[in-house]
């Protein structure tokens, strides 16, 4: 090739584009938007082969996971007919709903428990199994749940899925629930599955002194550091923390007076400035941000650090003001997802930047799906 000519003093090197390793390094740096790898695959068969290599797609996912905010591809919703995907990006990254289809059996009877790291966790109510679905690759793993106690009082567990740190290929599933133990105590349960060992842990539990009815919020769990957090609802409010390393459960109480009127859908755990768990509580269209402070005696307490007037920030119209619900927290982007009757919002907590989307079908519950589209064609 003529481009080699200006450097007569150097030994001839293969033209860079014929070097697979170098080409992989370049393709790795394509933006993590959905259209990137499909378009590269369409260039020629060699590029398609490189991009389809599972090792490459794992590297791609890992490379962008560290460096960029994970793109919001859209929202999943479900109704009696099944699970639907509603894309939110603009063309050519607007993934068609038909691209993300789960097996027919899973569609109708499965309830979405949550999404994280590009994986969707579903619970098959009839079969009492959980399903881990990767919409981008199409992989599905169905797991039997060995501990009936995690189904809880309403027979549906709360759950979270996450990719194992350091290896994007493997995942963990955590199921949790509450059940009345006796008149004075409620017990919280959890168990964890690792796709590396293919084994569920023993049931982990903790007693919570509570005479009142207690259950875990159906809103998705939040991952902060190495712990998952659920809101405990019922007649009082607390936070259930599941430490993924220690495999232990703990309950963090919330001051009754400050959170008396919070409902499951207007409170969520979020990442506080120090990196630990904080709380976001929406009251009368104002978001309160709470941090957990520990004083010199080691006593921890919740402190209100910031308020944000959501109605002003988001310019909510009268329809939107009627009902505002928190539907998720994007852990890596530090953004909350809100849903009103007609709109969906993603609000970044530090900058207060937000994005708005119309609700495709009113009345459904939406699950934000963020993923690095690491797949060719």
């Amino acid at each position: 090739m003529s481009i080699l000519c200006p450097f007569p003093t150097s030994p001839p090197a293969p033209p860079p584009m014929e070097d697979d390793d170098l080409l992989s390094e370049i393709l790795l740096r394509l933006p993590p938007q959905p259209s990137s790898l499909p378009r590269a695959s369409a260039a020629c068969k060699r590029w398609r082969r490189l991009v389809s290599d599972p090792a490459f797609t794992r590297r791609f996912r890992r490379h962008h996971h560290r460096r960029n905010p994970t793109p919001l591809l859209g929202f999943f919703s479900q109704d009696a007919a099944g699970i639907t995907f509603n894309p939110t990006m603009e063309p050519p990254d607007r993934v068609s709903p038909g691209r993300f289809t789960v097996l027919p059996e899973a569609r109708v009877l499965s309830k979405i428990l949550g999404c994280r790291h590009g994986l969707v966790l579903m619970f098959h109510q009839k079969l009492k199994r959980v399903l881990v679905w990767d919409p981008v690759t199409g992989d599905q793993r169905s797991l039997a749940v060995p501990h009936p106690l995690v189904f809880g009082t309403d027979k549906t567990p709360r759950g979270a899925v996450l990719r194992a740190a350091g290896d994007a290929h493997h995942f963990r599933v955590v199921l949790a629930s509450c059940d009345r133990h006796d008149r004075q105590y409620t017990r919280a349960f959890a168990c964890i599955y690792s796709s590396e060992t293919r084994v569920w842990s023993d049931l982990i539990s903790t007693l919570v002194p509570s005479e009142d009815y207690m259950t875990l919020s159906t809103m998705p769990a939040v991952l902060i550091g190495d712990s998952l957090y659920w809101i405990i609802t019922g007649n009082w409010r607390a936070v259930l923390k599941f430490d993924l390393n220690m495999l232990s459960l703990a309950v963090i109480h919330l001051p009754v007076d400050k959170f008396a009127c919070c409902k499951p859908w207007n409170i969520t755990v979020m990442r506080a400035e120090g990196g630990g768990p904080g709380l976001l509580f929406v009251l009368d269209l104002t978001a309160q941000l709470w941090n957990r402070n520990t004083d010199s005696d080691g006593v921890a307490s919740w402190v209100l650090t910031r308020t944000v007037e959501l109605d002003k920030l988001l310019s909510l119209n009268s329809e939107e003001r009627r009902f505002l619900m928190i539907i998720g927290f994007a852990e890596y982007n530090n953004a909350i997802f809100l849903q009103t009757d007609v709109s969906l919002f993603m609000v970044q907590l530090e900058s207060l930047q937000f994005k708005k989307f119309p609700v495709p079908i009113i009345g459904r519950c939406y699950h934000p799906f963020e993923s690095i589209y690491a797949a060719g064609i």
Binding site: P6, Q33, P38, A43, W47, S351, K356
Partner: protein, 248 residues
């Protein structure tokens, strides 16, 4: 000479001899004794975290002078020079006052690399965590204007410094020249990807990947002179199955 290797064991931009030569040449040019130039390696100074923001001092200091293989001098400002590991070392050792030879690099290529670094340098923090060290920082500080309630908002690819537009112009130059940017790296370090200094590998591969951003497959083929080995039927099939990815 081990003194030229950084803690990760990577070789610097230039061959070891080249770095020693550059130091010696720069030192001689600034009339410093050659012995001082060959002093023990400095551990990464903790004050290098100050490099996160361009220091007023650094900007006031004169630009570095790089001498290409064809003898042409190319100037690079100090904030921009921070993007090169080797140039950073030279600046830290105060050996960067005189002309710095860039063997095997033609002035045309050097010019392009310098232009790229000038644009991205001020936002490049080599000490930052990988997440923060991004020429296209996410989530610009200013609030987005409110939008009407019906129109869906485009996924904003945040680029508050206008780097993407600039890059589009930059890379619209003759693409065989940019090919040579990659080739330069290959020539400098022959065939071993693992021995190329990471920052130059990042730079070169990012530049090429940026060229492909938003391009259609036919445009990618043209730029990189790839032969389309799909049959028309195969290609039509691929596009049909994934039509959404090929929409405009």
């Amino acid at each position: 000479m081990d003194s030229t290797a950084d803690p990760k064991g990577k070789r610097p931009l230039y061959q070891e001899d080249g770095l020693a030569y550059a130091r010696a040449a720069a030192a001689a040019a600034s009339a410093t004794a050659a012995d001082e130039a060959e002093a023990k390696p400095k551990p990464k100074p903790s004050s290098s975290s100050e490099e996160a923001k361009p220091e007023p001092e650094a900007e006031e200091m004169p630009p570095l002078v790089l001498v290409a293989e064809d003898g042409v001098e190319v100037r690079i400002s100090r904030p921009a020079a921070r993007m090169s590991h080797m140039l950073r070392l030279l600046m830290e050792d105060s050996c960067a006052d005189g002309p710095i030879p860039a063997p095997n690099v033609h002035s045309d290529i050097l010019d392009l690399v310098v232009q790229y670094c000038e644009k991205h340098g001020p936002y490049y923090d080599p000490e930052a965590s990988e997440r923060a060290r991004n020429p296209f920082p996410p989530f610009p500080v200013e609030l987005t204007p409110t939008v009407s309630s019906i129109k869906p908002v485009t996924y904003v690819d945040p680029d508050p410094h206008g780097l993407k537009d600039w890059d589009k112009d930059f890379i619209s130059l003759d693409n065989s020249t940019l090919f040579e940017v990659i080739l330069v790296k290959r020539i400098l370090n022959l065939l071993d990807l693992s021995s190329t200094p990471q920052d130059l590998l990042d730079l070169g591969t990012t530049m090429v990947a940026d060229m492909m951003r938003g391009k259609k497959p036919e445009e990618i083929r043209e730029i990189f002179e790839i032969e389309n080995d799909y049959t028309p039927e195969q290609e039509a099939e691929l596009r049909k199955e994934n039509a959404w990815a090929f929409e405009d």
